[in-house]
Chain length 412, copies 4
């Protein structure tokens, strides 16, 4: 025990939070069970035990094509049932919310079908691999909204408390008129040229490379924090390593010769850099790469305004740097705010000040926010329309990169 709880056996005050009994159940059905599936499962399992929720999420069913694998995933992650056909999952009566954690090429089909079936939908980002798909999804979401259904896109980093708090400070005017947004998402898992060719490096499956995987996050966050859209971009992108070894398939081991490992073409970008203008005239810069040796998960944001600045790095996700430019110069400086106070977003339900949260908490928070949105019949944020808008920015980035970096407007 290391802190200030006051309650104990003898003098127990009633717990602050109401227990989540006697509230309706929200049955969740999840498609996909890899990295995102594990993270979403953690979110669904935990949210109701930490936050006061108006509905109780139940892990009703999980879906994957391989029977043995999906059964194992269900057992591992705590799902009550397992399906091998996502259409069957959608059809289940105990599923009211479909959570889509598959690669981007299947998002549109599953999401549109789920909405048509009257289900709420949470769809991982990027919303789709093409603007056309994202448009269709957004139309479906808008039709469904009229029927009371919620469709949210999974930009989980909006739920990092430091980022949510940054948004709050900006909305309150603490930064003043914005001048600069600086956003980068740097990883290094493709630095090694022998790192294998996976679906993430194939255009047909992933849509794009670092741009869609990492760039989508920072485009969303830049616009979310600024409270305004990008109106145009100028971009350059590159694939530094153009061939990589294919992952061995079932028969790959037969030849036994290392020199016969097949290589395949990398058809997505390793890195994308772009500048942009926000609607207010502020300048923005973006960089997404998986080739920045030593940077593991460096999602960095810096925002400069006329009254102050904010800075954030996902590798230190409990911290927000805040400079108040209205202070006397002699005592001004970037403050390292530990975003772990009860006044901070999401923190009312967690640990005492200074006790760190981690990556997966974003999914717990996402579950909280989505359940509340559904229960309240509120408009989701980020909506599919928000996801579409990010896709349009990414499309403008790709167009600019193809057209010699010329400034390319974002379609409204």
């Amino acid at each position: 025990m290391a802190r200030r709880e006051e309650t104990d056996q003898e003098a127990a005050a009633p717990p602050t939070h109401r227990p989540a009994t006697n509230v309706p159940v929200l049955g969740v059905g999840m498609v996909g069970y890899a990295f995102m599936g594990a993270a979403h499962s953690q979110g669904w399992r935990t949210a109701g035990h930490v936050f006061d929720l108006p509905m109780r999420p139940a892990l009703a069913a999980i879906c994957g094509r391989d029977r043995a694998a999906v059964d194992a995933a269900a057992a591992r992650h705590g799902w009550a049932a397992a399906e091998t056909d996502w259409r069957a999952l959608i059809a289940r009566d105990d599923v009211q919310l479909v959570d889509i954690c598959t690669p981007g090429d299947s998002h549109a089909e599953i999401a549109i079908a789920a909405l048509a079936a009257g289900k709420h939908v949470l769809c991982e980002k990027p919303l789709a691999n093409t603007v056309a798909e994202a448009e269709a999804m957004t139309e479906a979401a808008e039709r469904a909204a009229a029927r009371g259904q919620v469709a949210m896109v999974g930009f989980n980093y909006r739920r990092v408390p430091a980022i949510a708090y940054a948004r709050q400070l900006i909305a309150e005017g603490r930064i003043g008129t914005l001048r600069h947004v600086r956003a980068a998402y740097l990883q290094d898992w493709l630095v090694d040229p022998e790192s294998p060719l996976t679906w993430r490096l194939e255009r047909e499956r992933a849509g794009s490379g670092a741009l869609g995987d990492l760039g989508a996050h920072i485009v969303d966050l830049a616009q979310y924090l600024a409270g305004e859209p990008l109106v145009g971009v100028s971009a350059v992108s590159e694939t530094f390593v153009r061939e990589r070894p294919r992952l061995a398939g079932p028969s790959a081991g037969l030849s036994g010769a290392a020199d016969t490992i097949a290589r395949g073409a990398v058809t997505v970008d390793d890195a994308a850099l772009f500048t942009g203008r926000l609607a207010s005239g502020a300048l923005a810069s973006f960089e997404a790469t998986r080739m920045a040796a030593g940077r593991k998960n460096a999602l960095r944001l810096e925002i400069n305004g006329e009254r102050g600045s904010l800075a954030f790095d996902l590798e230190r996700l409990n911290e927000l740097s805040f400079h108040d430019h209205t202070e006397p110069a002699a005592t001004a400086g970037f403050r390292r705010v530990l975003v772990t106070e009860p006044q901070h977003p999401y923190l009312e339900a967690w640990w005492p000040p200074g006790h760190a949260l981690g990556y997966e908490h974003t999914f717990v928070h996402q579950a909280r926010d989505l359940v509340r949105t559904i229960a309240e019949g509120a408009a989701p944020a980020p909506s599919f329309a928000d996801g579409l808008q990010v896709q349009r920015v990414l499309a403008a980035v790709e167009e600019s990169a193809e057209k010699n970096s010329v400034h390319t407007p974002v379609v409204l």
Copy 2:
């Protein structure tokens, strides 16, 4: 989605981890449901969904004196049943492990009874409020060990991956002969003199103040990391604010007059500082305080040896600073190691590199380690004997502080 999972619906490899089905159940009964209760609950709920465990922890029953409160806590935290008498909890057939999260004055009675009843025990730190109690508990634990029972003390910070990895580096000799251990645990929740008088500020309940609450952690960690005990200490302690307002009881509001708020004496230390010698002759310094304005949870460790140094701060719990003194001077320097690689302790089961863990993960890891210890019939670490040894250090600290700081040997 932001990283390298390779699996998806179409091409799903079987999950790395075996599902936790077909393994025996380990029924957990927890006493106490405040801060530590919430944290332990999170650990028990999550461990089996993340790690491959040889037994499946079940949240069988929770115990607290107040019926309404304990029922609410059970619902909130996911416990199947609730008891209002810890003796009844111990007696339950579905409880094989008793997890004690109460204030220190009740640890001995509950732990000894649970061990006598044939249960495994996890006891929060500090092990007890007095050395005598801790000795009795250790004797009980040793008797029970002969019957195959496990008794572990809850020094959860040993389960921070960065700290576990630091221990590994030291055990491998990467730091060489130790010269200095520098340990501090700084918090600030008592800076305000109007912060109320809780059980943590009363000697009868808490045993001591910052010393037992925070100092116990850093004494345990210093000895754990060094791999050797403290042999003597010299100490000073202080209570800066000697009276504080009492927490209002049920009738406190009747008078309506703010000036009639009763004040009570603080009977524990606000801060304790001590130096010490480790068995090898290395020097150590310790500071535990709840009066360090701006430090929220700054458990800082620094260890200097003949071949290198390590540094850690719990406010940045995913990072370990490592200086390799055998490197050429021109390229040497403290490295910021993000302890999120699959090779790091506990990380085989979590997220990709760079994705942060948080405070509560220490309880998930504690649950993992305890379940494995029980299943394997292994010796627990830290054992009650380890907890007793920490108590003896704390007793020597108190004795030295009373005796004008004179160097006081730690009883072996």
Copy 3:
């Protein structure tokens, strides 16, 4: 006294460094005496007392138009004589080196005249306000080089030990094939819209704004560190505050009315952002701004290669971050190298490890390097040709910004 000197009165070893007697004098004549003049003076006064130099710099004469002011500056900064006409300065027999610290619009005329007069020249950056001027200067420098004269451009940040050491590590291949160069120079002294209109905000005098003032440094450093030129850029720039109050002239106070303060147009950029490609195909990003609230002198560089990465921030100029990607992942991380070891560039002559250098040391180092270049008859680095190449990059940036950010090749 806080460190390891071994020498003392009784047991004095001869000093490591030979005294700078019996070496030829190098008479310096400096034009300009503002910020740069003060910094250069400090460099000329100090270099010979710290480093072993083959010539002894003498502060022969300083030049400025205002007699009283230049006399005061001469006394303040230790110059033996003062001139009010730079042609007179150049003509002096006791001046062998002309050090040009004036605004960019006078660089070409003075430098070309000085070279024609047979003098060595050190010219502050940016080399000139236009490519045409820089070309003429470079031609003059090349003609003079044939006569044994040296012409160097004052990119002083190459002389920060951490940057010089970074270049050394890159040249040794410690970073491997380059992938990314990230360069920003962020200041905040124009955040306040009431900050006055100075010559630095007028195109005729300053040539450009943040681009020439700050961007020139990071373009030079990026190319210096990479060891290769930029081949093309795509740029955007902005003037956020388009009018500012004019600095009061001699009669400005007569009206006495605050509301009659004249405003004038800002004719240079407040900020410029650009992306670029290096000859090897590596991607680069650049940002120069004087509107980043809270960033005082944040010249940041980060370079990622296939074998490692480097990072630097001028606000912590004694530190270099180095990640060695060939290390085992478990112990890898960015090291904070204190660039204060005797093995580091320029450090052989300064203080013991850990004793910080400051901004002005770059001018001491520049003086050292220039004196040695002159004495050895070596080729200067950076040369006027290097300064011209930077001007060409800046010209391409301006052209791209005018042409809708289209990728614009740098003229070779």
Copy 4:
């Protein structure tokens, strides 16, 4: 050029600072020319070119026993004359101030003689090797003060702008009632057991080891910052490496056999740790060591009060961390103040914000302050009495370490 100077040839405002002409000369005579001699020389040479001083320091004469070495040092460091007998130096008419940079065992004799000869004195720290010597020096200083002479002790770190500014904030009450002072001075140059035996490791010459060399600084700074003295201490010290190779003398190379290198006993401490109480009741901790691998010059200070906290590390000497505890918790945090604003102590005369100062600037500032003190006939700070008080603390530390760490009062 990278910043905001406004002045140039055409539109030169008179320089802010008056030139240092027409002011009396203050002739300085320095004894010793090793590390401290070089640093002090830099201070004397530079102060008058940067600050407005009421007297102009002249580097009149330097003194050392070895004629060739002292002549070389004079030439190197810019001294007009060289003496081999410190009595001759004191006797010189052109010397009004004697600057003592020798080891501690000669401080008393030289300082007392210089004061007796009517000279001002600056004496390096620690003031003396024994309390008795320091008392005699203080008495001499007090007698001399009556005659208008100034005697100052060289605790140069008081002149680090961040530390001077910390003192100012504390004096203004921004930290409130003090609770904790945490001071450490960590270096690593004795980690290697083969590092040779120098005079600094011999008690007769150095007085003590890390305690006098490093501990004296942090004791002085703790008391200076707190504005109150230590009243008692409890200490432990250690010599980890008890024998080291002797530095080879003139004939050492004759034997030619590496195995015959003589070893000698280290007779001073490698490390000293102590706790203490300030007069107000605040607790303090101190650690001085030369065995902290990777710490090059880590003089760290942290001060916690009821209204805020300050933290400093000499390895980042331009930064001061300041936490204002009166702010709302949600935006509070340690600010990284770059102590480079014109409002900060000593900064009125240096570079624009964000342009770093270095170690040697402390000696320039010391020269400034001492010249002003002499010209104004003011009381010096720190005085010899302050140096004596530090010696008494160090003596109490040594006594406590010998007496089993018992709390030992500091003699008033």
